[in-house]
């Protein structure tokens, strides 16, 4: 496939999404993104979706199902919020400090999760069930099951998501980090080798445990960022998510992950994540436009239906292509 054709193919998805949704909104007399405020929201949400999807994909691509993403996001940003508040009491620089601490906490939580997996050598899905419960439990214990509010309600935090600039910087930084780490470093090459040929790669001498730990660490760190962004956006963190209350966040990442997989056929997979997140964020902005007529129930039904429809298209598209080729 030629480069221009690739670009066209890669951009097709977000462009079509934009056109369809914009048309819908115009019929309602509005625009998907009508002013600066909604643009800010759009970029922030894009960042959240993109990073969550990346965190999910890192392990899922290697066949490791991780239910603990949501609990890592929650716990890491609660730790970040508590420590930051302890140091700055909500003063200037709270947001960047919290972002850093949550990131580090996320990495550590990810590493613990990965270490548990590598030590127990149980199927990752089972380990992640246990880890999720543990992290939720710790979260509950720290917060007493309450919303964390005063720690994250300060001008610095609301500044973080109050403008598109920081979210855009975060997107750029994460994207650059992911592309460099997974496409350019020896770790990334080893990751790809392990992903498609675990047995051979291990026999040849790639250190699987080390590679896996790094994956979990990165995934956790990304969720730390997501947690902070969500905390700033929602102005609260829910500390009382016992009994798998935290896993919902990963389900929202499925649709963008499949979209990213599709776009990734034509371009770098990580760019695919960004473009998929843009699609999801456009949809989200549209929901905001229609918030008076489309309630949360409808939204979740629409999301679910889109997921199924897209997968039907994706899987049967392959089938059709295969039939045509023959």
């Amino acid at each position: 496939m030629s480069t221009p054709k690739r670009i066209v193919n890669a951009l097709a998805m977000p462009v079509v999404t934009l056109v369809v949704l914009q048309t819908l909104c115009l019929l309602n007399g509005q625009s998907v993104i009508s002013n600066m405020k909604s643009f800010d929201n759009f970029i922030v949400y894009t960042a959240i979706v993109m990073i969550t999807t990346m965190a999910l994909s890192i392990n899922l691509n290697s066949g490791r199902f991780d239910f603990s993403l949501g609990s890592m996001a929650g716990l890491s940003c609660i730790i970040g919020a508590k420590i930051t508040y302890g140091i700055l009491s909500g003063g200037n620089g709270s947001a960047p400090l919290m972002l850093c601490i949550s990131l580090v906490a996320g990495v550590i939580l990810g590493l613990i999760s990965g270490l548990t997996y590598c030590t127990l050598r149980l199927p990752p899905i089972i380990v992640s069930l246990g880890v999720t419960l543990v992290y939720e439990g710790i979260m509950y214990t720290i917060t007493g099951g309450k919303y964390v509010m005063s720690e994250v309600q300060n001008p610095s935090m609301s500044g973080l998501t109050g403008t598109w600039v920081y979210a855009a910087l975060i997107i750029a930084a994460v994207l650059a980090f992911m592309i460099i780490t997974f496409d350019k470093t020896a770790f990334g090459y080893d990751y790809n080798a392990l992903k498609s040929g675990q047995k051979v790669a291990v026999a040849t001498g790639i250190n699987e445990v080390k590679n896996t730990l790094i994956c979990y660490g990165i995934s956790g760190g990304l969720m730390g960022i997501v947690g902070t962004l969500n905390a700033a956006r929602n102005t609260t963190i829910n500390g009382g998510q016992l009994n798998f209350g935290s896993i919902a966040i990963m389900f929202t990442a499925f649709l963008p992950m499949f979209i990213a997989g599709y776009i990734g056929r034509f371009t770098n997979e990580k760019i695919g994540f960004l473009l998929a997140a843009v699609c999801m964020s456009l949809l989200n902005s549209t929901f905001a436009v229609f918030s008076n007529s489309v309630n949360a129930t409808m939204q979740s039904i629409i999301n679910a239906v889109l997921l199924v429809v897209f997968l039907i298209y994706l899987n049967n598209n392959d089938l059709i292509k295969r039939l045509l080729k023959a």
């Binding site: 350019k184 470093t185 020896a186 090459y189 080798a193 040929g197 026999a203 001498g205 790639i206």
Partner: protein, 500 residues
Amino acid sequence: MNKPVLEMKNISKRFGSVVALNEVDLEVYPGEIRGLIGENGSGKSTISSIAAGMQKANEGEMFFKGNRWEPASMIDALNKGIGMVVQESGTIGGISVAENMFLAELGSFKNKFGLVDKNKLERKADEALKSVGIAGISGRDAMGRLDFQDRKLVEIAKVIMKNPDILIIDETSTALSHDGRQIMYSLIRKMRNDGKSVIFISHDLDEIMEVCDTLTVLRDGNIIRTFEKEEFEADAIRSSMIGRELKGDYYRADTECTSLDEVVLSAQSLNYKDNLKDVSLELHRGEIVGVGGLASSGMHDLGEALFGALKLDSGHVICGSGKEILSPHNAMGQKIGYVSKDRDQKSLCLDASIKDNIAIAGMNIFKNKINLVTSSGEKRYVKKQVDELKIKCSDMDQAVGQLSGGNKQKVVFGKWIGCGSEILILDCPTRGVDIGVKQAMYQLMVKLKNEGKAILMISEELPELIGMSDRVLIMKDGEITREFKRSSTLSEGDIISYMI
């Protein structure tokens, strides 16, 4: 001779309670091509993979060029002078050829920013491929796009480019065509000429006798005997491999082409992608039809197609009753059994017990009056197969994954014979099976033929095709190019030219 380049002393290796190697000593000298031969599970792959750093011995010590030899991994061993081309695929499909060749050592391609220099990587790979004499493959290519033979060649290049002192080749030639083999043989000769050593592992006695200077026979984790070139003699080697004289016939005793008239299965103009082109054949009651060719000839697809497991582009598979076979479900209904070449992936459920694996196809036979599957009926049914086929196991609840290759294959046979299959499609039935079991399989096939069953045997080994078949069909590029009738004068030389 001079000092050995590799000394292995008192090497023991256990997998759980299974002793794979029992205090084995092995010495390899410079300029020597050493063959390792033995039945499955004899320990030949284990000992060579220990030398190559793929796994660690429980006991014993090794010396390489006079120094203690403790490789950390395969790549470590390779960099220090011992490289191995492994039996199963040693390459990864999802990444490029260059990445495969430098797997686990991409750290050495870092540029000044600490990132992997892709151009340098691909350049190095291209150079290495060229120097080994492999044309038509570039380091940039996606490994997944290459066929099996090219993958194997990449693997060989990967080892050779490190210029190892000892090259270990484990069961590789079966994957290679004539050309591929020539590349490999010339590399082996070059190694010898350079004063380096080769450890060559193969099931193919003829090949190993031709290639090697010395030949070490292993059995049950022990070294039985080492033959020098002048002592090479097929029967002696065989009997030391199995630890007894082979009694009775190896292949079929008769040389007549015999079968009944009744056609039990016919293929009519089968087309499937590029792999099957207008293939037609007939299989008769009491007949063994052999299908030979290169791995890529389409013959393996033919096996699946006859069993209804492929969605054909056109053509029909009709069985004796006149019914068309459209799915494996249909095929089973018509008493057809299929033994896949890819035994572990396609013919067995490794986690499941011997009992489960054999019983799964025969439930209609041992079910009770009200259609229920009872444990007693099942046990009786399975025990019969285990006894008749002499499957070696602790009990029938043992997981199939724990069995040796030969016994696994017996389980597959038991599954299909037990349920009363009248037609057996056997794809490489003796692949990875040791001589003792092989002989038993051949005798079983003769017995089945005499009972009036029809067998279609697909094989990459010409001797067994010639030795067993009433008719041999040769395939090339998806077409049947020639048919040979059974005769005492039929030789490999007659056939090979139609394959390549």
